[in-house]
């Protein structure tokens, strides 16, 4: 069974491809735990999650997922070095106050980081801004300027630059446009980017 058919998210499909059988996995911002539940059932991973929202934490527990209720920017320091094989940060990077510090922590506690984020450089975002003159509003960035959870607006170019600055190794980069994978000119054409990083 394909993960996308179960969970309806293409980034989850890519993430699950990256994770081998039996890995130790931490999902930051794990929501209702559905990805971890899927990984447990299909990849026999040792699954842990961190989630801030109480209702989601309760749903994750009901799914039999080990989850810690806490703010992920402050809850990583407790984990020992190398505690996990893979640490997932999916669609959350743009909401973090200190994204680089969080990524550094992730690469301390995990051998690999899997980072998925919406690309602010996508052509629809650019056109929306160009023609409306207002903050871009697209399917991927549906919020008004005042109610967006996003505090950083990064593009694939920006992220590439940070990986070079931080001297992280990019093991794999994958791009999505809708449910279609792999695009030429990703910074213009990709809606979502998924990176596999290590220190």
């Amino acid at each position: 069974m394909q993960v996308r058919e179960v969970l309806g998210r293409s980034d989850y499909a890519l993430i699950s491809e990256l994770i081998p059988e039996g890995a130790r996995v931490l999902d930051l911002g794990c929501g209702d735990g559905s990805l971890l539940e899927w990984l447990k059932a299909n990849k026999k991973v040792e699954a842990r999650g961190v989630e801030l929202k109480r209702e989601l934490v309760q749903q994750a527990i009901s799914r039999g997922v080990t989850v810690y209720q806490g703010d992920l920017e402050n809850s990583l320091k407790e984990y020992p070095d190398g505690a996990f094989d893979y640490v997932i940060l999916s669609q959350t990077l743009q909401e973090l106050r200190q994204p680089l510090q969080v990524l550094q922590e992730i690469l301390r506690i995990g051998r690999y980081a899997i980072v998925a984020f919406p690309n602010f450089g996508h052509w629809r975002v650019r056109l929306s801004h160009l023609f409306s003159g207002g903050a871009p509003r697209t399917k991927l960035f549906p919020y008004g300027w005042h109610d967006s959870p996003n505090v950083h607006f990064l593009t694939i170019e920006d992220f590439e630059e940070s990986t070079r600055d931080q001297r992280w190794t990019v093991e794999k980069r994958m791009f999505l446009s809708g449910h279609t994978r792999g695009t030429a000119m990703p910074n213009l054409m990709a809606e979502v980017a998924v990176y596999l990083l290590r220190r």
Partner: protein
């Protein structure tokens, strides 16, 4: 279901103080049925003034103290699990305590009862669990002092505990918690009827014990729940008495709870059990809390409540962080409730859901004697 309290007897129990208690009795109740592989047993641990009667209705028509959590389809599901609850060592509801007769002395122990600890209580529970023929408990769980016992179980007998669920609890009493307990103890001991603890058969130190209970009750509620329940409402009157009569609803409530308590609880047990809680410090014999939890191999579910100021969430988080720092399997959730410390007893809707989900997984993934993190 009508429940029956049962009793087991044990020859002796070595205590942390160095003394040994002889000829002990343990009161316990069980609900549900032990499966053939003996892998569905859950030990439920009561808080300070609880007893073995955790669920169902007893012969006096009284429901158990966690009846909303234990039963068919409930969090601790008697159709799937075998639930055991036992009165603690030092208690006054059927298990040996200061009101029990001292062997050979022809009178109750009173203050001649040796000082006890949470780990002494757990050591006695282990004798009972062995006596019932259960090699490994699916879970140990309790709120408040029950949570301390659950933690102690996970550290003292890791091979016997699959899952540990401490609720609204702590790994050690804070100065504030000790202070409230000491206030209660002083109220009891300053009552002239206390008579050095030898009040049995005479007048009980009822005033001291009821004041102690009044203080306790305040700490179990929250500012918000007291405002909702009583506000500043007057009790059966339109105007103030301008004397020291009962003016406010809340005064009437506390006095009622205090006097009612005297009929069901022994003052000496109050002293011994509160001291045991104050002595409790899971990290006492190790360099850190994390180091002391190193031995534990259980999965943990830790729950706290937003309005609980007696056992605040930071104390639960301390346990959780210590466990996370050693990469233990620990789930943590702070539930939203206005009921203060009492929430684990009265506001059990969400608590039920997460305990159910967690236990379901622990049962599916029961690891038998295999120790792993």
């Amino acid at each position: 279901m009508t429940t029956e309290t049962q009793f087991a007897r044990f020859d002796s129990l070595p205590l942390d103080s160095g003394e040994t208690l002889r000829d002990l009795q343990v009161a316990y109740e069980t609900y549900g049925r032990l499966n053939e592989s003996r892998t569905n047993a859950i030990l439920v641990l009561h808080a300070f003034t609880g007893d073995a009667h955790a669920a169902g209705i007893d012969h006096d028509g009284k429901p158990g103290w966690w009846d909303n959590m234990i039963g068919p389809g409930k969090a601790f599901d008697t159709e799937r699990h075998f639930i055991i609850c036992t009165n603690v060592l030092g208690g006054c509801r059927g298990t040996t305590g200061p009101s029990s007769d001292e062997p050979g002395a022809g009178r109750p122990y009173g203050l001649r009862f040796p000082g006890i600890t949470i780990s002494d209580m757990v050591r006695l529970q282990k004798l009972l669990v062995d006596h019932l023929g259960i090699p490994r408990l699916l879970a140990v769980s309790g709120g408040s002092m029950g949570g301390m016992q659950a933690l102690e179980w996970a550290v003292a007998y890791p091979e016997s505990v699959e899952a540990c669920i401490p609720i609204a609890s702590t790994a050690r009493h804070s100065a504030q918690q000790i202070a409230f307990n000491e206030t209660g103890r002083q109220a009891i001991m300053m009552d002239p009827d206390f008579a050095g603890g030898d009040y049995y058969g005479g007048k009980l130190p009822a005033r001291g014990l009821s004041v102690a209970r009044m203080v306790g009750h305040i700490t179990y509620m929250s500012d918000e729940s007291m405002r909702e329940k009583f506000g500043r409402r007057l009790r059966n009157r339109e105007e103030f008495s301008y004397a020291f009569e009962v003016d406010f609803e809340v005064e009437s409530y506390l006095r009622y709870r205090g006097s009612q308590f005297v009929g069901r609880f022994d003052a000496n047990s109050y002293l011994y059990i509160t001291k045991a809680m104050d002595y409790f410090d899971l990290s006492a014999d190790a360099p850190s809390l994390a180091a002391s939890l190193e031995r534990a191999t259980s999965r943990f579910l830790v729950i706290s409540f937003t309005s609980d100021w007696l056992y605040p969430s930071y104390q639960s988080q301390e346990i959780v962080n210590a466990l996370r720092s050693r990469n233990h399997d620990v789930t943590y959730c702070e539930l939203s409730s206005n009921y203060g410390h009492d929430a684990f007893l009265v506001d059990v809707g969400e608590q039920t859901e997460i305990v159910k989900g967690f236990l379901g997984r622990c049962q599916r993934e029961f690891r038998g004697g295999v120790a792993c993190k």
